[in-house]
């Protein structure tokens, strides 16, 4: 009897802990997914978008670069003002020293990525290093391991945020990232045509595409006249930034950006632009 009482009591305690663990927000931490970049077809708008994705995804930059004070809040501060000021700082001795203009900003950002300790933003150095050693890991080595193209993309994104047109080179064929061991699942084979991509992501369930006559979302014919490529991209990846007239926010799924490959996104944009008016 005592035994049963003790066991029931212990079980109850255990269940309380388990229940609590199941009540807090549940998020699975997935390993970074390799972006397959279509060298040749990606343009600068694509690079900026890729950079944004990498910034909070594989690059893990938002882990430190946020409004919590561990590192400069790159998404919050006025980069157009801050970056030139850093380069002009007396104690700055890096490659962009004495230079100005978009190219200098590119060099400064790239240097921050591959050699963070070259210049440490005052107040952010490693404890006890008198701002000589940066706590930021090199972006091109483990655990972050961005490729050259990916670092270019992140740089393009930050230049874009600083209000300059990105000056980074577009990737050329021989820079294509090597296939890694982590092969994708069968069903996640990238779509290779616009129609296939549209089908794969079910756009036609809401938009009148491929004769679906769906009317949950607006007609997409004649987009090329109304919108730039970048705007179309944005409408797909961040549908809630600009809402089409006569429709409501939060209707279109906002996670296509996470699911899609860049190649697919490009295919879809091309496909949409070619729709008859």
């Amino acid at each position: 009897m005592t035994f049963a009482r003790v066991m029931i009591f212990s079980l109850f305690t255990l269940l309380a802990f388990t229940g609590f663990a199941n009540l807090v927000p549940q998020v699975q931490g997935d390993p970074p997914v390799e972006e397959k970049i279509d060298v040749g077809s990606i343009d600068m708008a694509g690079m900026v978008l890729l950079g944004e994705k990498l910034f909070s995804g594989k690059g893990t930059c938002t882990l430190c670069h946020n409004d919590m004070g561990r590192a400069p809040d790159l998404l919050g501060i006025d980069l157009a003002k801050e970056f030139p000021e850093r380069i002009a700082d007396k104690s700055y001795e890096g490659i962009a020293k004495g230079k100005t203009g978009p190219k200098a900003i590119e060099e400064y950002i790239m240097e921050s990525l591959v050699d963070p300790s070259k210049y440490v933003v005052p107040g952010y150095g490693k404890k006890g290093s008198n701002d000589k050693i940066s706590p930021m890991p090199k972006a091109d080595t483990a655990p972050i391991e961005l490729s050259k193209v990916e670092m270019n993309a992140v740089t393009a994104f930050l230049q874009d945020k600083a209000g300059i047109s990105p000056t980074v080179p577009l990737p050329s064929a021989d820079e294509a990232p090597k296939a890694t061991g982590n092969d994708e699942d069968e069903e996640n084979e990238p779509a290779t045509t616009g129609v296939a991509a549209i089908t794969k992501y079910g756009c036609a369930t809401c938009h009148d595409l491929e004769g679906s006559e769906a009317d949950i979302g607006p007609k997409l014919n004649g987009l090329a006249k109304r919108m730039t490529d970048a705007k179309i991209l944005e409408a797909i990846v961040k549908p809630n930034v600009v809402i089409a007239k006569g429709f409501e926010a939060d209707m279109m799924p906002d996670d296509f950006g996470e699911q899609m490959r860049f190649s697919e996104l490009n295919l879809i944009v091309e496909y949409l632009k070619k729709l008859p008016e």
């Binding site: 802990f17 388990t18 998020v27 390993p31 882990l63 004070g69 996470e258």
Partner: protein, 589 residues
């Protein structure tokens, strides 16, 4: 006979020395390795290289076996540590009760020992079967150390058996010293075992002695062993194990107390429960500090890893940790308060209980209240990937530090009250002494609160600094009151403690402790492994297995619960076995 023992002891001593100078042993292994081998990097298995065996989930299996092994090992390592202390106290005070209790503790340990080995073996098998590349790499890094581990395990078995079975043969006088020496060797071997295993676990988090770019082995075994997180984990586990062992034995005592009818046996188990709870609290009080040190070293090793720990997915885990620790504190305190019933003077202290309760519950609430920046599911997802925004330095803000320190101080006060309730000081300066202690508490707590307030108004980076004076205050209160008490209670008039005069309900607090501790330990293991994110060996060898993701807290919690249940079932079996050993059938007439 005595000579025989002496020679055995001598042999054991020599072995222990050999073990304590790891460089000697490692250097031998290294020398053999030195013969100019080409540097090969860490293996890079692809997903297809991970053996799939009968649809079993490799990670869950390894997780379960590792955790079971750790639970049992922590218990088996911890009990001899406080057994020997108790043996020594018994020897000093000539109070046989201590000696018998230490012996009884050991009896429980003996039945758990072979199970520890069993799970250890199963774990090793699982790892080699499912993760051959990783294990191959670790073997390359640690070379002969695996053999030393095996050797130590053998030695542990031998000493453990000798220590236990020679108990009654070496009970008094000089022989007792022999016996305690065996215990010392046993504990040395046990700790070395744990330190070696810790080296493997911490190497996987903060590898050293290998080429950072390729993972090629370039250093000695000692360099890989002495990686940045080795000592912090050694200390944290060492202390946690003691607290854990105390909690489990306390559960055993509580059960025996409830199940017994005979008053004198009840009294014995009440005393055993009290002592175990004392051990658990003594181990518990320094734990948060060891935890902070561990966390600080993680930040120093890699800010990225530190922020991963305290941010996003794992940030919520620390809230759960806070709830568990709070539960443990409340249960331990509740038990102490109930204990005031045992003395006739206790009632005089009982009136303070409500104030202590307010502080402990209040502190608990402050601690579990999520920092305003705690993330919702959507916010975490938005930040993408494995890594997230983080919650300020160490995630635990000055308010929380203040709460934790006050809770520790007041838990200590509960302990001190009970201790005092059975002793009336007779020294002439007793009044003055008491005033000093009260002043100590007041000044200390004021200091803790003000340092907390100061922490609030200083910029982020200096907040951590504010916690140092708080810790110093807490430790000063504890250390100085103990010192004053020692002198003041010399020759004190002892009041009778009515052991056994305890409510049934109070015993349930002693069950909360082991359950919460076991679950907490499982949770922390999950955190430690998750910090490596998608790496087997952080920054050096990637995890390409299908299980390279961090499970959600709910999934992890369910797994931990299942493991905890299995462990409880095993402990029930172990206790039953140790009872069985001392029951004998009455001869039929």
């Amino acid at each position: 006979m005595a000579l025989n023992h002496t020679s055995k002891l001598f042999a054991l001593f020599i072995l222990a020395v050999f073990v304590l100078v790891p460089d000697v042993a490692f250097a031998a292994a290294d020398a053999a390795k030195e013969a100019g081998e080409a540097l090969v990097g860490a293996p890079k298995p692809t997903r297809a290289d991970y053996p799939m065996i009968g649809g079993l989930n490799a990670r869950t299996l390894a997780w379960g076996f590792a955790q079971m092994h750790l639970f049992l090992a922590a218990f088996v390592l911890a009990v001899p540590m406080f057994s020997i202390v108790m043996e020594y106290i018994g020897h000093l005070t000539k109070d046989e009760r201590y000696d018998s209790m230490a012996h009884e503790f050991m009896k429980i340990t003996m039945s758990a020992y072979s199970l520890t080995a069993l799970f250890g073996g199963t774990l090793a098998l699982t790892l080699f079967l499912f993760y051959p590349h990783l294990m191959g790499y670790l073997m390359k890094v640690f070379r002969g150390q695996f053999l030393i581990y095996a050797l130590l395990f053998l030695l542990e078995s031998v000493t453990l058996y000798i220590y236990y079975y020679s108990w009654n043969a070496l009970r008094y006088g000089n022989r007792k010293w022999f016996h305690m020496s065996i215990g010392l060797v046993l504990n040395t071997v046990g700790l070395s075992l744990m330190f070696i295993a810790n080296a493997w676990a911490t190497f996987m988090m903060s590898p050293s002695g290998v080429d950072p770019a390729t993972g090629a082995v370039i250093g000695t075994v000692w360099e890989a062993t002495r990686n940045p997180l080795w000592n912090p984990v050694n200390l944290h586990r060492f202390i946690a194990n003691i607290a854990y062992g105390g909690a489990i034995v306390g559960g055993y005592a509580a059960y025996m107390f409830l199940a017994e009818k005979r008053a004198e046996v009840k009294a014995h188990y009440d005393w055993m429960g009290y002592t175990s709870n004392f051990i658990a609290i003594a181990g518990f009080l320094p734990l948060p500090f060891a935890g902070y040190w561990l966390m600080a070293e993680i930040y120093a090793y890699s800010q990225q890893m530190g922020i991963t720990a305290m941010g996003g997915i794992l940030a919520w885990l620390f809230i759960i940790q806070a709830v568990l620790i709070g539960t443990i504190m409340l249960a331990a305190n509740y038990y102490l308060w109930c204990g005031l019933m045992r003395t006739d003077r206790g009632a005089q202290y009982a009136k303070y209980v409500k104030y202590i309760a307010v502080v402990i519950v209040g502190g608990f609430l402050v601690w579990v209240t999520p920092h305003s920046l705690i993330l919702t599911t959507d916010e975490i997802r938005l930040l993408g990937g494995t890594h997230h925004k983080f919650l300020g330095p160490l995630g635990i803000m000055p308010a929380k530090n203040t709460a934790v320190n006050l809770m520790l101080v007041f838990t200590f006060l509960s302990l001190q009250m009970f201790y005092r309730s059975s002793r009336v000081p007779t020294v002439s300066w007793a009044k003055a002494g008491n005033m000093v202690i009260i002043a100590l508490y007041i000044i200390g707590c004021t200091n803790i609160v003000f340092a907390g307030l100061y922490g609030y108004i200083t910029p982020t980076v200096y907040k951590v600094g504010a916690s140092v004076p708080q810790v110093v205050s807490t430790l000063s209160i504890i250390v100085f009151s103990v010192i004053i008490d020692i002198f003041m209670l010399r020759g004190a008039k002892s009041e009778k403690v009515h052991w056994g005069r305890m409510s049934e309900r109070s015993q349930y607090a002693l069950f909360v402790l082991p359950v919460a501790f076991t679950w907490l330990m499982g949770l922390m293991g999950y955190i430690r492994s998750s910090l490596r994110t998608h790496w087997h060996v952080y920054t050096v060898m990637k995890d390409q297995s299908p299980d390279a993701y961090i499970p959600t807290i709910g999934q992890a919690g369910n797994t931990i619960t299942v493991i905890t249940l299995s462990f409880m079932a095993i402990m029930v079996f172990v206790f039953w076995l140790s009872r069985l050993g001392s029951t004998s059938q009455v001869k039929p007439s």
